[in-house]
Symmetry: C2
Subunit: 187 residues, 2 copies
């Protein structure tokens, strides 16, 4: 299997306790107790699980070299000991978005919506990993799944960041979004 | 399954007779008699088949609106009755390519290599469909599989087009390429 494939299982297992599930736009996902994150495939829905999402990490689609260098200089990886809060946010974009050309999508993503600029302001407090689902072999319910983690002290900053992104022009193309919040014990 | 998924099976079945298989760069693929193209998944290697490649059609990664409009105005779909010649060309790009940022890849793709400009000169003679494999759930041996068809009268033009692309800066990042040529009876 693709070594960049991750599977997210909403069920009774996993180190993250789910504390809130909110349908931001479109259909919700069933509420479950825990989230398990597996770096690999999960062929069948495990016992007690209510949903399963997949995605692969991939090359950046929009960032320029200058933006990437700024991101790499400031960002940290997931899994810091103090990052006991997390959010899993699957989104789907509408057909209009996917019919746009690369220059049009880039224009909305950054020139109009400042997606990178907004994200940069919250680094290194918020760590993130983006997974792409749209071009998997399976028919997936979302186009992207992003996993974020942060410390309880940075919770307010995280809320501010997601609010800013949701108010952007880019988000007018989002036709399904679920926001799943989780906590775990300090590692 | 993803409705944009195509499976290409090299074996004893299918409407295309394979007439030539050439490893352009890197490892070859086993020679088979025929190619079968299925719009959907093929879970196991069929009897008598020697290889199986998968890919999904997707949104364009580099074309601008101006380029897309020119392409759409000139291009035709696969499957014209007179298009009795075809080529299936799977390629893989190296790690250096995938570590480049979007602006760097676009710069090589068009500003330096004129990928769209070269392709446009051979429309509508050559029809093509690009399939992406890199972000599938499976671990695929190639990043892209492109299927082309054209009439026997346009064979020389097709050779010229692939030669021009292979001489481009973009192709210095290709570390595996196989060129499979096929014919079929007039529909």
């Amino acid at each position: 299997m693709n070594p960049r494939l991750f599977t997210f299982v909403g069920g009774k297992e996993g180190s993250w306790s789910i504390v809130d599930v909110k349908a931001v736009v479109g259909d919700p996902l069933p509420v479950t107790e825990r989230l398990e994150i597996i770096n690999g495939p999960v062929p069948d829905m495990p016992d007690g699980a209510k949903w399963l999402l997949r995605g692969v990490t991939s090359n950046e689609r929009y960032a320029t070299r200058a933006e990437k260098d700024l991101l790499v200089a400031k960002q940290t990886g997931l899994g810091r000991s103090e990052a006991t809060c997390a959010a899993l946010i699957p989104i789907r974009k509408n057909a209009k978005w996917w019919s746009l050309t690369q220059d049009e999508r880039r224009g909305i993503f950054e020139d109009q919506s400042q997606h990178v600029k907004i994200g940069l302001r919250y680094l290194p407090a918020v760590a993130r990993r983006l997974h792409h689902c749209r071009d998997l072999s399976e028919c997936e319910p979302f186009d992207f799944v992003t996993l974020f983690d942060y410390s309880p002290a940075d919770s307010a900053a995280f809320e501010e960041m997601v609010s800013e992104l949701r108010a952007s022009e880019e988000w007018t193309f989002v036709d399904r979004e679920v926001d799943i919040r989780m906590v775990r014990d300090r590692a």
